[in-house]
């Protein structure tokens, strides 16, 4: 039973042919699917539809798609709106989430930078004697620095390949199996999301993460490399083995 387009009470019996499961339980409770003709008769709107939904894969292209759809259908469509205009709360949550992820990445990369710098400072400290011997034997300070930087380059390359590979493997696994967040299911549903998240990563995101890691490794290795070049050969060769 519902009001039709003329404000009259309309009622009709429908036979249930099947049920469906949605990722969000609230959606299941509030939604029924009927044939378009039946719905138009029920609501007294013959030949009319109230909403056309165009599904896409690029969130940021939604506005352009909405405009293009409206332009293509001409006067038949009164208002073309993108998803973020229809669901401003979700759009805002996604913006907040992106900002949060930016901060998270910043903290993560900062911690990583300190870790790498610490590792290479330890390498320089542990090899002070060897570095001093190299300098005493006539290896130039520039070459000692270059040696340390090359080592950083090599370690970063290996780390990036292994890290990237493991990351992609985990991503593919949770992309197929899904990450069950049902312990936070109600909170997720409030955002219109299901409790199982399927992850994915684009080649651009992967390349960006690997390139950033690689670049940070090289930049933070500059200071340990500079310290390596400043080792005093006189003091270093007197150190106990």
């Amino acid at each position: 039973m519902a009001y039709d387009a003329n404000g009259e009470v309309a009622s009709q019996a429908f036979r249930i042919l099947g049920t469906f499961r949605a990722t969000v339980e609230a959606y299941e409770k509030a939604t029924i699917y009927v044939a378009l003709d039946d719905a138009q008769k029920f609501f007294a709107t013959p030949g009319r539809v109230t909403e056309i939904v165009v599904a896409g894969t690029d969130l940021d292209a939604a506005s352009r798609t909405a405009q293009a759809t409206q332009a293509a259908l001409g006067d038949e469509v009164t208002t073309g709106r993108a998803w973020d205009a229809l669901e401003p709360l979700v759009a805002q949550m996604i913006d907040v989430s992106r900002s949060s992820m930016g901060i998270f990445y910043g903290v993560f990369y900062l911690a990583m930078a300190f870790g790498i710098a610490n590792t290479f400072l330890m390498i320089v400290h542990e090899r002070t004697r060897e570095l001093g011997v190299l300098l005493a034997l006539g290896v130039t300070r520039g070459r000692v620095m270059a040696m340390l930087l090359f080592e950083a380059l090599f370690v970063s390359a290996i780390g990036s390949v292994i890290g990237g590979g493991v990351g992609v493997a985990i991503n593919i696994y949770y992309g197929r199996v899904g990450m069950d967040l049902s312990f936070a299911g109600q909170g997720m549903e409030m955002l219109g999301l299901g409790s199982v998240i399927h992850t994915f990563i684009t080649p651009e995101e992967l390349a960006g993460a690997v390139a950033t890691t690689f670049a940070i490794s090289i930049v933070v290795a500059l200071y340990p490399a500079w310290k390596a070049g400043r080792v005093s050969p006189v003091q270093a060769i007197r150190m106990q083995a």
Partner: protein
């Protein structure tokens, strides 16, 4: 021309407000082919003098010239190149690169001089045979005795035919027999190949083998004795 020429050499270490003079005006000339030992008590300035001759440290005053080149006028890069090409070092603690085998340690010097792979392998093996390490040259330092490691260090010091070899307490970590063997080897290299050696030592065996004995006390040369070979 002297291999080493030192004029008015002074070195003072500054530790906070404390100034410790290590050398107080040293004048010295070392000729090619000399076998010189710098002796003296601890703190007399032996190692400091050797470090200054080896371009590892800079003097407070005075000049050091190697092959006629005044070290005080050279840049850090030029000093590195001079050490690489003209000076060999033998350290008390051997100071071989632990991850390289004996032959690789010797090759290393030739590698940084830009010598090709096959030539440096050939030269390194030849010099290691010369110092009596024919069978052990492919071992890493950890698998060698102290005497063997010091022989590798001597081979490393002479493989590029430097103008002089500086040996700072080379026998200090060796037992008497091994030390004597090493000294005989270096004396032989001096006599037959004309390698110029400068030692710093207070080991009596080294002092006894000197052809020229410089005695340092309180940063000054107090005795310069030349002995018949």
């Amino acid at each position: 021309m002297s291999v080493v020429e030192i004029k008015g050499l002074e070195k003072t270490y500054v530790n906070g407000n404390v100034r410790v003079p290590a050398l107080r005006g040293v004048d010295l000339a070392i000729e090619p082919g000399e076998f010189t030992v710098i002796a003296g008590p601890s703190g007399s300035g032996k190692s400091t003098l050797l470090n200054l001759i080896g371009a590892l440290d800079v003097p407070t005053a005075g000049t050091v010239s190697i092959d006629g080149r005044d070290l005080t006028t050279l840049s850090k890069k030029e000093l590195s190149e001079l050490r690489r090409d003209r000076i060999g070092f033998v350290f008390q603690a051997y100071n071989l690169i632990p991850v390289l085998s004996g032959v690789e340690n010797v090759e290393f010097i030739l590698m940084i001089q830009g010598v090709g792979a096959s030539e440096r392998a050939e030269r390194a093996r030849a010099i290691l045979h010369r110092v009596g390490l024919g069978d052990e040259m492919d071992r890493r330092p950890v698998d060698m005795s102290g005497g063997q490691q010091q022989r590798v260090a001597v081979a490393r010091a002479i493989v590029s035919k430097p103008a002089l070899v500086l040996a700072d307490e080379p026998t200090a970590n060796l037992d008497s027999a091994t030390a004597l063997d090493l000294l005989r080897l270096m004396a032989e290299l001096n006599e037959k190949d004309g390698v110029t050696f400068i030692f710093s030592s207070h080991d009596q065996k080294v002092i006894d083998g000197a052809r020229r004995l410089l005695t340092l006390r309180d940063g000054k040369i107090v005795e310069d004795e030349r002995r018949a070979g």
